[in-house]
Amino acid sequence: MTNVRWKMFNVRWVAAVAVCVAAVSTAVLAQQPPAPEGFIPMSEVTNREVLPAAPLVFYAYAFVWVALMGYLWVIWRRIGQVEQDLSAVTRRLNQGREGR
């Protein structure tokens, strides 16, 4: 009796492993493209991703311009503000000295 139970357990175990292997291999095989029957001419391939290069080159060049000129403008403005503050404070300081 014990021997029969042991055999049944083994059969169930082997069946479970076989089902798992079958499920995994089905999923793996399903992801693979079907094997081609022969050579396919390039002109007949329809679902190929075609990414135009010109917009990417344009975006790259435009980004360089915007980044560098934007930074130049920001620095120029900050220098203008600081130097304006500096001249105003220096004027106040000189007026204070003259007042004494």
Binding site: L51, A53, A54, L56, V57, Y59, A60, Y61, F63, V64, W65, A67, L68, Y71, L72, I75, W76, R78, I79, V82, E83, D85, L86, V89, T90, R92, L93, G96
Partner: protein, 221 residues
Amino acid sequence: MGQNRLIAGLVVVAIVLFAGAPFVIDAAPYESTMGLIQKIFYFHVPSAMVMFASAFVCGIASAIYLARRTPGSDRMAIAGAELVVVFGIIVLVTGPLWARKAWGVWWDWGDVRLVTSLVLWLIFVAYTLLRRFAGPGSDVLAAAVGVFGMANVPFVYWSVNVWRTLHPKTTVVRTLSPEMRFPFYWCLAAFLCLYVALLLLRVRLERSKSTLEAVYAELED
């Protein structure tokens, strides 16, 4: 006044060179495997070279500051670090635009050149954040970060020769054909002119800021 003229002259030359760049690049031949998209090379590589140069400017100025505590070297280090961040953004934006077409992906975490470039950029972002938010005493700590950042540059440069991934080797510039070499050096000159102008302007901004602080301190006394 003399420096103002120099900066204005460099900016004008840089703008002329940048404006002429599309025509010069257009005249260059197409690369055999990548075609039109390879033309991003003419902005991407010069901006990377300027980024490396700026990291050296920041690192050397930081080392001088650590040794002698001269305010001039500290200002130069601040300017250099900020320009690493600016030119690094250009490298990190133009690179993926090129990669998307050439390699089919925007970014590849397995490519050592990409990852080390990002790390280098982040080190200099850390430097600028330290200077902005860390308060008094951050100058010495930031100078150490600047030296550390500079020490990373050779690793970024030689990474493509040691770990063979998607990036081409460092020999690519040396082996350019004469038709491709001319637009490359044209763009490099444009980037270098603008870089020197921006560096001088940024140093001037720091100098004006420290003068303003000194005058404020005198006014309070």
